[in-house]
Symmetry: C2
Subunit: 193 residues, 2 copies
């Protein structure tokens, strides 16, 4: 884990999470996330683990194909390969962490940190200069769909049957939406979050 | 249409949309929305039209069952039935409009207006006093999931086959995510949107 530059899951020096356990339970209820979904995420973890780099290849090809997305990783000199690479290692770890999340305070505190790194604290972790100051909120939300749909072919390789595939896929969608809903807190005033 | 209090789709006195046609095309590309999805939304419109009130019954029962969601419609005296009712008529019309959206400037301007009505301009349309000042951004995003999953049994009534059902259901998910991504603009500073 410590081999991933800028990875701070479990770092006790992170600020206290914005949402506490009770607030998280309310948010999970709002998106119909149950204990069954958490078991399904564990099933998905076992299937997806050997294929995370393939998934990141897909996502990076997608981002690279769309100038409006690639812009977040670009400086006036063009796409910043070092920046893209540093984010990629943490992005892969986010997949693993999401599939195994126990949704405790360490998890919540790191979601806040991920949110800040898309908003006002973008570029700081990797010491990037000249890239846009934020990932636009509209794209943070829009990317829920590609992050959701692209995992299905991988889940299909290990699903017991079509119902299991659908259930794992929906559990993943809920987990992605939950992540984005927490990350969005860095974009608005606290009392509007 | 004019029978729906506060409904302003197409009202030329709304502010110019935040996102222009080119920005919308980039956002649609980010969530993989294509012309095929728009045709699928039209298929879904024909199937869902007779069942919109049933869908709203489901959604309102869901909101009513969760204090954290019902709070947005409540004053110190409890849930505000008139407010809930007024929002419901526009919510139903939003479903119809989304399924038939042509994504022009009128559509964009009204998405901005819907965003404002969840954020800083909440309560104004219906003259509500004493309800919370905003719908929290975290819930605006989290509700993507229930708004997505609950339409499936209705779509199943008219789908040609399972593939058509899946395709319509995904087109609806994209349209919901697109709506929320635009509404979120009212929660953040313009340069972060």
């Amino acid at each position: 884990m410590s081999a991933i530059p800028g990875y701070r899951f479990g770092d006790p020096s992170l600020p206290q999470p914005t949402v506490d356990g009770s607030g998280l339970a309310q948010l999970q209820a709002a998106l119909l996330m149950t204990e069954a979904d958490i078991r399904l995420l564990r099933d998905a973890a076992a299937i997806m683990d050997p294929h995370i780099e393939e998934l990141l290849d897909t996502w990076y090809a997608f981002v690279g194909s769309q100038p409006a997305l690639l812009a977040s990783f670009s400086t006036p000199s063009g796409p910043d390969a070092a920046y893209l690479g540093a984010v990629r290692t943490r992005f892969a770890q986010w997949v693993r962490d999401t599939l195994r999340a126990n949704f405790d305070d360490d998890w919540l505190a790191y979601q806040d940190e991920i949110g800040r790194r898309h908003a006002g604290a973008k570029n700081q972790t990797d010491g990037v200069r000249g890239a846009p100051e934020v990932v636009p909120l509209r794209y943070l939300i829009a990317l829920i769909y590609p992050i959701f749909t692209t995992v299905r072919p991988i889940l299909a390789r290990g699903a017991r049957d079509d119902a299991h595939l659908d259930q794992m896929h929906h559990a993943w969608l809920k987990a992605v939406i939950l992540s984005v809903s927490l990350w969005a807190g860095a974009y608005t005033r606290p009392e509007w979050f």
